[in-house]
Homo-oligomer: 207 residues x 2
Amino acid sequence: MLKFTKTDIDKMHHLYRINLINSCSGFKSANLIGTKSEDGISNVAVFSSVTHLGSNPALLGFFLRPTTVIRNTYNNIKNTGVFTLNHIYKDIIVDAHHTSAKYDENISEFEMTNLQEHYKSEFYAPFVKDCPIQIAMRYVEEYDIKANNTILLIGKIEELYIKDGLLEKDGFINLSEGKVVSINGLDGYATPQLEARLEYQRPKSVE
Amino acid sequence: MLKFTKTDIDKMHHLYRINLINSCSGFKSANLIGTKSEDGISNVAVFSSVTHLGSNPALLGFFLRPTTVIRNTYNNIKNTGVFTLNHIYKDIIVDAHHTSAKYDENISEFEMTNLQEHYKSEFYAPFVKDCPIQIAMRYVEEYDIKANNTILLIGKIEELYIKDGLLEKDGFINLSEGKVVSINGLDGYATPQLEARLEYQRPKSVE
């Protein structure tokens, strides 16, 4: 196996390190976060750190990095209290990835891509039309991560929308059926194929 | 689309809710966390919340849930300061999933599965042999998440091991080549296929 020590990582070129460390944690979730400013300018941005925190209450969190100099997503959430999560699927990979470009706060990424904003249930933040999973989220709390000056932002699920045909009898959402993608590193998009669902595991008896 | 409101989610059967909410955030990382107690008893457990926090310093985090009544992983990390991350790959899905069974702290999951512990560079925590990515991690800090009584535990990368043939010229690790899997919900294991790597995105000119 190849080996990199802490010293190797500290010394490597920063672009090489960004690729390496971003791809070393495993496959990541691929979400578009939709927000709208108080002035009514919508925003949509790709995030790969959305993580399940718990089911009851239904909480999800994500990390905002200090390198995101223009933090429209964060500012909009703080000012309005709401955001949406929309799963990236195979057909929109190119447009979804383009939302990582740093646009000025006065420009909506919906205007600069083929992604279409739409609204449901009078929820203030925009959803991304046709995404197989769309979630209305409300801000709960945040934590300043001292180790690297990032923010963990936590929200609760207000409404959950699922494309027809993905939900199984026991509540499992078949993401592969929805062509939901996952992210490898900074810029790799992968389509997962469900191999198996395994049973709840109990300890084997010790002999 | 199917719609679930917050009230629907609050009222549903708890097993249905666990499946639904666990699968609604998108595909998750699939890692085995290896630890060893001060008494020398090794432990390995599946986690699906390992997330990239930043590249410089190289930090990864994961969430521990209060429902994990037997928190051997947490106790071992707190007592020894170290742990390993090992990516689950296609060949070990069944054994990896079995580590979710709640064994007593005196029993090593390495004894109850075909997963093989091994040691490198005098690092105290066990690695999982043959995993395509293996990472030696050192505890940095933790945050108590008030919203649901979970813990965010953050570690820094001490050593990173990558199976031959996965690392590309610019530092990108091709996880699909290593048969690394991702997790859908609580119990679904999927094999992602890399579709594309996309370029760094700059804003389009506004007309």
